[in-house]
Structure formats: structure tokens, C-alpha cells
Amino acid sequence: MWTLFHKFGSPPWLYRLSGAILRWLLPITVVALVAGSVWGLLFTAPDFRQGNSYRIIYIHVPAAVVALAGYYVMAIAGAVSLIWRMKMADIAMRACAPIGAALTFIALVTGSIWGKPTWGTWWVWDARITSMLILLFLYLGVVALYEAYENKALAAKACAVLSLVGTVNIPIIYKSVDWWYSLHQPASIKFTGGSTIDPSMLYPLLFMILAFYALFTCALLLNMRAEILQREQRTAWVRALAGERGGS
């Protein structure tokens, strides 16, 4: 098990593995996103109270779910980077931040667009929305902190500490609608007991959540590959790769 773990620390190995994964994951993701959107937006019934405006759920909820899950990926990569001083973990952590920020931003914007016709306001400082805004700042903070250091080893350390401290925000976001009185409704998809969303609406939603997980994975790997090539540009294997491409 440890040998596999240490293999992840090898840039050429990770580069080749991610290339092999992306070759089939990328087309699957594109097809799933298109199919899920068409299913959710065109082939589901309107909601009995909201009409068609509820359909934004097929973008809003997947983006929010993966924004939260992506934070754990970033924090775990940060912990590995702190404990094992593994460069590839730094790269993974660094690669998560802009993707997570984009997803959080999408969740906030779509929520706001839905909130105006449903609640009657674009924005309200309730617990769910405010903690989600903090998540956006945490992601942007990791990006900014990384860029602020000249010394990248030091930058990775600082970012890892920030992302680990920020993990407390994730259960707060998740439980905010249960712990406090908020305008945002509680979760409709429940792990225990029945979901309060009709199955005909739930299946495309679950499908879109999976598609967004795949999208996150693709974006993460693409980001990491670019960063690996950048950092390893002087090594023999990258030169060989560039020569191979350039020569043919």
C-alpha cells in the first residue's frame, strides 16, 4: 500500500496515469453533463409551486455539493503535503482552489438568481449563504496566499494550514439550515429516510451530481498536469515528451 502511495509522488508516473484516466473520463463527463442537463431541463415535470424556476436545482445543487467535497480534497492534499512533504500533494491542493472557487461562485450566483423569484430577494445574510460566501473567500484565500510567497515550499505550507483550518466551515455549511433559523430550505435529498423530492426529479439531480464530480476530477487532473509540466520543464522526461511531440 505504501509503495502505491509513494508512486503518487512521482511526477512522470502521475502524468501518465492522469493522461490515461482523462482519455476516457473527459468524453464521459462531457456526454454526462449534456445528457443530465437535457434530462433535467427538458424531460422533468415542473414543480407544483415553483413551476419551471426550480430547474436551476440541476446546476445549483451539484455545484454546491462538489464545492464542499472539493474542499475536503484540498484539505487532505494539504495534510499530505504537510506530513509527507510530497510535491504532488502541493500541486493537487493548489489545483483544487480555483476549481472550488468557480463551483462555489456558480452555486452562489444560481442561488441568487433562484432566490429573486422564489424568496423575493437576491441576497440575504442567512447562515447557509453567509457560510458559503466564506467558503468562496477560503478558496480565493488559498489561491492568493500561494501567489503571495516567492518560496513555493513555504507557500504550500501556509496554504495547507489555511485549508486545514477552513475545514470546520464544511460541516457548518452542511448543517447551517438545521442548526439555525435560515431562509434557505433544509436538504431535500436525505441519506436516511425518504427524500422530499419526487423520484422523477431526484434521478436527474443525482445524475448531475455525479457528472459534476467527474467534471471536478477532470478539471483537477488537467490543472495538475499543466502544473507538473511547468515545474518539471527542465527534467529529461518532460524534454523527451516535448521532443516527441515537436519532432513528429
Partner: protein
């Protein structure tokens, strides 16, 4: 595992646990301020300040909505099934505002315990279903009520 790495692992765990409990305690101390609105039971108990901007949230009482004939003034009451707070509002209500549905009203409580609202928001619940399913649910509910009524007469 290398002892140095083991030590760093403990340090990371300590960092996460310590910062989480610190922030958790802060959130616990500020819990009253994190709530978006007061439930009517708190307003009835006098916990909500009078004459200051507050929000009160709950379900709009069935049959309580009264619209004025010559202005945009609306009167209604919100309840958490323990207490009721009357609300007066002048303006346009959100589309999803309805009797028996959640609403959050922002404004000032006057001396009579009426909330003079400056903003009313509809609170959507977590139920999503197609209109046919909602109708079927409604129909089965009324059928059950009928049945219960009939059984009641039989006794």
C-alpha cells in the same frame, strides 16, 4: 511510519481539532445572532426587541391574509404553532407568498406587538414534486379525511 511524519500527523490533527473547536465555540456563543429571524414564540415571550429592526419567520396562518381595497397594505399573521405574530406590510409580496406557507417578515415591532414590516420574503420548503403528484397527494389526503369523518359519524 517515520517518527517525524508521525509527529507531523499529530500536529495536523491537533491543528484541525483545535481550530474547529475554537470556531465551534465562537459560533455557539453567537448562535442568537446567526439566526436569520425570531420564531413567533420568542416574540410572544418578549425576547425580541421592540422598535428595532428584526425579522420574524413562520408559517402564514390560514385565512389570516387581508388585503386593503385601496392600497397595497396587507395584514397577515405568522405562527410557529405555539404563538402568533400579526404583521402589517405595504408593498408587493413575492409570488410564492401564500397562506399555509413559510414567510419571513423584516420590520419593527410596535407597542401592540404588531410587526410593521418593510420587507416580506417567502420561505420555500424542501418539498419538490410535479403538479400531478401534488394533486394526487391532496386528493388522497381529502379522501382520508372524508373516511375519518364518516367513521366518526358511525360511532
Amino acid at each position: 511510519m517515520h517518527p517525524v511524519r508521525k509527529q507531523r500527523l499529530w500536529l495536523v490533527l491537533f491543528l484541525v481539532v483545535f481550530s474547529s473547536s475554537a470556531i465551534g465555540l465562537m459560533a455557539y456563543a453567537l448562535r442568537g445572532n446567526i439566526n436569520l429571524f425570531y420564531p413567533p414564540v420568542d416574540v410572544a415571550a418578549g425576547l425580541a426587541p421592540v422598535g428595532q429592526n428584526i425579522r420574524v419567520g413562520g408559517m402564514v396562518v390560514d385565512g389570516s391574509v387581508e388585503r386593503s381595497d385601496n392600497s397595497l397594505e396587507v395584514r397577515f399573521a405568522v405562527t410557529d404553532y405555539e404563538a402568533v405574530v400579526p404583521v402589517v406590510y405595504t408593498g408587493i409580496l413575492p409570488d410564492l407568498f401564500d397562506e399555509g406557507q413559510g414567510a419571513v417578515a423584516a420590520g419593527k415591532l410596535d407597542e401592540n406587538g404588531v410587526l410593521q414590516a418593510s420587507e416580506v420574503l417567502a420561505k420555500h420548503d424542501e418539498n419538490y414534486m410535479p403538479p400531478e403528484v401534488a394533486e394526487a397527494l391532496e386528493a388522497s389526503k381529502s379522501r382520508m379525511a372524508e373516511q375519518a369523518a364518516r367513521q366518526g359519524y358511525g360511532q
